[in-house]
Amino acid sequence: MRKVMTGNYASAYGAKVSRAEVIAAYPITPQTSIVEKLAEFVSSGEMDAKFIPVESEHSAMAACISASIAGARTYTATSSHGLTLMHEVLIWASSARAPVVMTNVSRAMAPPWSVWVDHMDSVAQRDTGWMQFFCESNQEVLDTVVMAYKIGESRDVMLPAMIIEDAFILSHTSEPVDVPDQELVDSFLPGYDPEIKLEVGRPMGFGSLVRPDQYMEFRYKAMKAMDSAHERILSVEDEFKRAFGRSYGGLLDEYECEDADVVLVVAGSAAGTAREVVDSMRSRGIRVGLARLRAFRPFPRDEFRTLAKRVRGIAVLDRSYTYGAAGAFYTEICGSLYPLVERPTVKNYVAGLGGRDITPGILENIFKDMIDTTERGEAAEPEWVDVEGLERRWR
C-alpha cells in the first residue's frame, strides 16, 4: 500500500517486512525515529522481534553480530558519530561474515557540530568490508533494506550491508512510499538459515586466534565474497523487479548517459535534483547525463570502465573529503579508469558538506565547468563548490 512517510519510517518498514528478528540500537539525531518506530512495532506485537536497548552504538553492533552468528536476522540504524564509534565492530561484523543490515542516516561529523547531510561518516567506513548502498528516495531505502538481506545472506556473500539515507533530505522528508505486501516479501525473502551458526550442543569457535599461515585465507575469502556481491546485487535486483516492479539501476545507475558527452557522478539524494538538471539541459540541446553511484562497495569498476569509453568528461561530486588528497569517489573512479588506454577527462567537485544545499543552479554550473574543462583537455584539480570566501560563484 502506498502511503506518505519519511525515509526513516521507510527504513523501519523495510526491517519490518524483512522480518528482522533482533534489533539493537542506540538513538542519535537524525536516525532516532527509525528505532522509535521499530520499538513501537515490537511493543505493539506487529513485529515479532527482540528489541535490545543498548548503551552505545558499539554495543548495538556487538549485539547484532552475536545475534547474527546465532542465526538471527538482525537490524540496526545509526548516524555520523554513532557510525564512527562502531568502526571497530563494523570490521568485526564483515570479518565474522555476519550479514547484519544497518541504515546509516548520513550526517556530517563534528566539530563544528552539524546534524545535516554529508557523506563523510559513510565514506570513512569504506574499508570495513560492508556493502554500501546510497539511496535517492524513500522508496529506494525501503526496497534496498529488503534486497540487502537477500544479497548479504547469499551463501556466496555472507557480508553486512549499510543502507545510506541522506540526513533530513531523506530521513525527515515525507513522500509516497509503497509498503509491499508481507506475503510478497515472504516469498521473495525466505527466513535466514545460515550453514554455520552458534548453537547449543554444537560447539564451535567463532573469532578465534589464527596464525599467520591461516589469516590471509580468511581475508582472501572475504574479498572473493565481495566480488560475488557484485553479481548478487544485479541478480537480486532482477528478481526484485519481477516481484515488485521496481528497480534502481544496479551498482551504477545511468540516466541519459547513452549519447552523453559529459556525465555527472553523484551519490544519494542529490541525484534526483541532477535528473531535473539533465532534463533541463537536454531540452536546450546540451548532451549531459547522470551516473548515480548506488553501490560504493562493491565498487562498480567495470561499469565505470564501460561508461568511460562512451563519454568525454566525467564530473565527480563528492559530498565528503579526504584532507591532503581528494574526494574518495573521485580517487576511486580515477583508479579504476587508469588501466584504460584512452581515458575521459575527470574532475572532482566537493560540494554539499554539512547540509549545504545542492541546488539545480549549482549542478548546472558544474556541468558547464566540466564541459569547458573537457574541451580544454587539461588536467583539472579538485574544486570546492559554493564556499564563502572563494572567488568563484556557483549558485
Binding site: 506518505v4 546534524v115 522528508t173 515525507s174 513522500e175 535528473r275 545542492i358 541546488t359 539545480p360
Partner: protein, 185 residues
C-alpha cells in the same frame, strides 16, 4: 508544481503542518514531498518547514527558495524573520493573526489571508491555554485558500496525523476554514 513554506515556532506543530498538507494532497491524487529545516530543536525557536505538490513524481531535493504559498503559524515572527523572502509575485500568504489588528505594513503584490488560529485552537482545547497548538487550525485555513485541496481531504489527513484529540483537531480545522478571510492591503 506548487511550493509551500511554513514558518512557526517550536511547539506549534510546524513540521506536522507540512506533513498534514502533503498527506492531504496525496489523498487528492498528487505527488508530494514535505520536509523540515531543523534548527536547534527547542520550544519557541523559529522553525521552517516546506512542502511540494505536483502531478508527477517529485525528484527535486534542494530547498524551496521561491514558494507559491507562505503559511505563518505565529505572527510574532513578522518582526525579525523575512517571511516573504522569495515569495512569487501574486503568491499567497496565510497568517495566524488575531482579529482587529492592522496588516497595512505588509508590501503589496501578494494575496493575504488571516485567521485567528490561536483562539480556535484554544476554544478546542488543543495544547495548553498559554501555548495552544495551532497547526491543525491553520491547515483548515489552507484548505480554504488553496483550490487543490478540499476541506474533506484536509480533515481526513488531520484525523490520520493527530496522535490524540482527533475530533477536536478536526473541529478546529473546520472552524478555521469558515473563519479564514482575505485581507485587502
Amino acid at each position: 508544481m506548487i511550493e509551500v513554506r511554513f514558518h512557526g515556532r517550536g511547539g506549534q506543530g510546524v513540521v506536522i503542518a507540512s506533513e498534514v498538507l502533503a498527506n492531504a494532497a496525496f489523498r487528492e491524487g498528487f505527488e508530494v514531498a514535505s520536509f523540515p529545516f531543523f534548527g536547534v530543536e527547542r520550544r519557541g525557536a523559529p522553525v521552517t518547514a516546506y512542502a511540494r505538490i505536483d502531478t508527477r513524481p517529485i525528484r527535486l531535493r534542494s530547498s524551496i527558495y521561491e514558494p507559491d504559498y507562505v503559511v505563518v503559524l505565529d505572527s510574532s515572527l513578522m518582526k525579525g524573520v523575512d517571511l516573504l523572502n522569495g515569495l512569487k509575485t501574486g503568491g499567497h500568504v496565510l497568517i495566524n493573526y488575531p482579529d482587529g489588528k492592522d496588516l497595512n505594513a505588509l508590501p503589496s503584490g501578494y494575496r493575504y489571508y488571516t485567521l485567528d488560529a490561536t483562539s480556535i485552537a484554544a476554544e478546542n482545547q488543543i495544547g495548553s491555554k498559554v501555548l495552544p497548538i495551532v497547526n491543525t487550525a491553520i491547515m483548515g485555513g489552507f484548505a480554504r485558500i488553496c483550490d487543490l485541496i478540499s476541506l474533506e481531504s484536509m480533515l481526513e489527513s488531520i484525523r490520520d496525523k493527530a496522535p490524540v484529540k482527533k475530533d477536536a483537531n478536526v473541529a478546529a480545522a473546520r472552524a478555521a476554514y469558515e473563519r479564514t478571510k482575505e485581507v485587502v492591503i
